[in-house]
Amino acid sequence: MKNVDPIIAIHNVTKYYDRFRALNNVSLDIFPGEKVVVLGPSGSGKSTLLRTINQLETIDSGTIIVDEHNLGDPGEDIHKIRMNMGMVFQSFNLYRHKTVLENLTLAPIKLRKMHPDEAKSLAMVLLEKVGISDKAASYPAMLSGGQQQRVAIARALAMEPKIMLFDEPTSALDPEMIGEVLEVMVKLAQEGMTMIVVTHEMGFAREVADKIIFMDGGEIIESETPERFFENPSQERTIKFLEQIL
């Protein structure tokens, strides 16, 4: 895999919230098709890392290059770059005033200038894929959390992104709904999507990840394959974390 260029290259990135250093000199390469799972205790900077990748947060130093676009370059149109990255939030964030179908078609029509009919049929395919096509005409408030999150994934996919970012996609779900969302994510992984997933679902991490990143205090402490990470953790903090969580 290392003979191709990374699709995301993060170099020595540091990020402050006021005085608080949320990311400390983070470097990370992600290659096309790779699935990276980010683990770490609360407040360790996982969300911040994800959010700097699509520039929902600006960085203070270092560089982030996504698909050959340097995000720090003022000449780059960040909105264009974001179109190629889908993001799934812990709290779903579906457009509450739009039906499920409209949630999927809004961005393609307005941003990709897709014909509404085309956007609709693409949307229906995606809804089929996440197993929720019967709810196309419903409003988000009528859906369960698990259903909403599957729609959120489909919405992200509707822009046909090259990379998918997941920030604890199952943390806000009741236990009985976590499975249905993970299932969709596993399918997506099998289809070869490049994915960065912040999660506490160790089963998913073990099964899907090519690489596991462990963060603490704004730093990347470990970066390993799942086998090595779970069987032979090298760092003390990782061991402590795993003890708590498993």
Binding site: F89, F92, Y95, P140, A141
Partner: protein, 257 residues
Amino acid sequence: MKKIDIGDGAAIPSPDDKQLLSAWWIAFVGTIALLIALPIYDPDTYGAVLAFIPDGIQVTFEVTILSIALALIIGLITGLGRISENRIFNLLASLYVEVVRGIPLLVQLFYIYFALGRIVQVPDIVAAVIAMSFCYGAYMGEVFRAGIMSIDFGQSEAALAQGFNKAQTMRYVILPQAWRTILPPVGNEFIALLKDTSLVSILAVADILRRGREYAASSFDYFETYTIIALVYLLITLILSKLLAHMEQRLNYYEKR
């Protein structure tokens, strides 16, 4: 500290407020009854006033509707300014709100009317509309600001993450949702504005009150004239407040399970 929510002269009764609802009915039926009975009882005074003012009602509505439309536009811009990260834009909007709030509407009306007169020649009614909407624009700005801020930040984030820019996010995602929160206070402001248009009578715009004053000036029936005028305003605002209360209840379609 808890905040109390008091509309400014808003008369939209909450559906939970049973007592005010039945007060509404009594007021409504009473007003209509008086508006029918008084002219029958004394057609030469009450009846004559009532016959004198209909075109004033039309003017009142014209001024109100034009003013609210303009105020909505000003309010949207002001509201966006008040939440803008652009320092200058934000400060200008805040200053506008602060100044408008600090000066009585009547003084603003006079001021804009006379100052405007020095610059451009516009019909009275246009001057009145400009003055009213300049003033109400500031209040509308606060309504918009509060409405926009009431929308969960996650909605913006989702839109930005999809590649929408800020303006698009506002237009496609935030405003359509904020509208729902904004409409009830806008309704209140509409009623408040309708009542405040009575001030333009001082500028000789021929609204309800002006017509009444003209009638009283030649007939000297001050008491009868103002009785009818008060009843007419009351009837209008009672009906409007009922309509708005109904509209509000229908707004929540996408939150229903």
